[in-house]
Symmetry: C2
Subunit: 289 residues, 2 copies
């Protein structure tokens, strides 16, 4: 069994180069489906260059359109959204952010001010990230929805399905999403800034040391209005255990399985206007910039 | 880990009915690729009804075209080609047929005579099966190649690849192929008779109790010309171990793993002119009729 798993991972790497394909233009539905069938990501550089979002969205425009509309904000001590945290007793837990509603302009001010404050206090400044996945561009951010394509035709035709959700995420260079997988085919567009992706094939699941962890949330230690350098404490939410990868491809010897050394992560950095296809059940981690 | 594997198999079955889809006509390349992406088989009844092979091939025609041309014949005691055999010491081995060359007409006579002789002898009559997979329709059987389509266009376009091999297999109701998997996308056409397939999804690999077995071959116990009721003995070929499924979906409690009870095999019977898409890495077993 062990040998078979290692052989399958090695033979996968022999057949698949450890690079993300770059396409010159949007694929046809059939070309797209070939990537879906192989669980392989691809990038189309500047695919969304002509989208209104890519051409128009800057801080002035977003403030003007969104104003004081309330948005959901995820708050973490170190930018570690959905993270594996080792407690003092050595037990690993899966910690989700503290979530709260803030007026959009306040949130954007906070995210933009990063760097100015970071060294001035005993505790690092809390990190904020707008990262809901509940179709937020057709809900919280619906005033901005006019600026994006309603539809990715090659994906709709290939998968015979409209998008289940259209989401926008806003963060800064301190936000990091832990290694995780999603059961969705995902088309990601970089509107502003850059994002670094680290991707593993579903075949490399035995490398990531998935463990059943208790689910927890950060919450403020005091009940007053949250301040940038407040402490967040961890509160276990339920008795339910979640399967969570505990290995980090950038810290390969730590919490490694006997297969981790066989992993060959794909790395890609998206820039303004670039499109990335993220295959369902790929394992990915993405620090934002 | 155990729980995660069981949950993955169960959730696969919740999302995928335990039936083989039946299409009304050949799929387009894109429709085909959707099946490839999901590792799901499908049948197109009578898809090959107009092929010359389906219209013309009978024993008279085959004898006339092939005559005494030598063909490779697989010989087994019970029709168990590529089978798991338990030795007297309890050790399982993987036994491949005794292979020999015979004039085509002699082979066909033998296969057609099944039933007439089976009860008349202390040992069952040896089973013969023409089952090479070395592109035999463009080699041994090239005289017959004119009667089949050179190409399955939807598969060639979708996979961007010509067929690696085009094979014909001839056997009778006593031939059974053990549970196995192939790393090829396979389009199977039933030209004459019937064939029963039992298919498992790649997701159900933990159910099949794959074990590393010693590879062996049947060979005649005597060196004279092979006779129908001769004994075949087993000879271990090499020290190499092969990964082989040892569980049988029709004998579910025997050599079962902790996951075998979760398997929900797909069953389909092909008749004259029917087409079956067999996804790569599916696990299948196919008794012929």
């Amino acid at each position: 069994m062990e040998h078979a798993i290692a052989a399958a991972i090695e033979s996968y790497h022999e057949l698949n180069a450890a690079v993300v394909d770059e396409l010159k233009e949007d694929p046809s539905p059939l070309e797209f489906m070939r990537y879906v069938a192989r669980n392989r990501p691809f990038v189309v550089r500047r695919a969304a260059a002509e989208w209104d979002a890519v051409k128009k969205w800057d801080a002035v425009y977003l403030r003007q359109v969104m104003g004081n509309s309330p948005v959901n904000v995820a708050v973490t001590p170190l930018g570690n959204a959905d993270a594996v945290v080792e407690q003092e007793n050595g037990i690993l837990i899966f910690v989700e952010p503290y979530e709260r509603s803030e007026p959009f302009v306040d949130f954007l001010d906070y995210v933009q001010q990063e760097g100015e404050h970071s060294l001035s206090h005993e505790r690092p400044r809390l990190v904020k990230y707008a990262q809901t996945q509940n179709d937020n561009l057709r809900e919280e951010y619906q005033e901005l929805f006019a600026d994006v394509l309603k539809d990715i035709p090659f994906a709709r035709i290939a998968l015979e399905k409209e998008a289940d959700a259209i989401n926008m995420w806003i963060g800064n260079e301190r936000s990091v999403t832990a290694l995780h997988k999603d059961n969705y085919e995902n088309i990601y567009i970089q509107v502003r800034g850059e994002k670094h992706f680290v991707l593993l094939s579903p075949m490399e699941m035995p490398c990531v040391n998935e463990q059943a962890l208790c689910e927890a949330h950060y919450r403020p230690s005091k009940s007053h209005e949250l301040r940038p350098h407040d402490e967040l404490v961890i509160q276990c939410s339920t008795d339910e255990l979640l399967p969570v990868p505990t290995w980090d491809p950038d810290n390969r010897d730590f919490r490694a399985t006997r297969y981790s050394h066989l992993a060959r992560p794909l790395r890609v950095t998206l820039k303004k206007g670039d499109m990335l296809y993220l295959p369902a059940m790929s394992v990915l981690r993405n620090p934002d910039i």
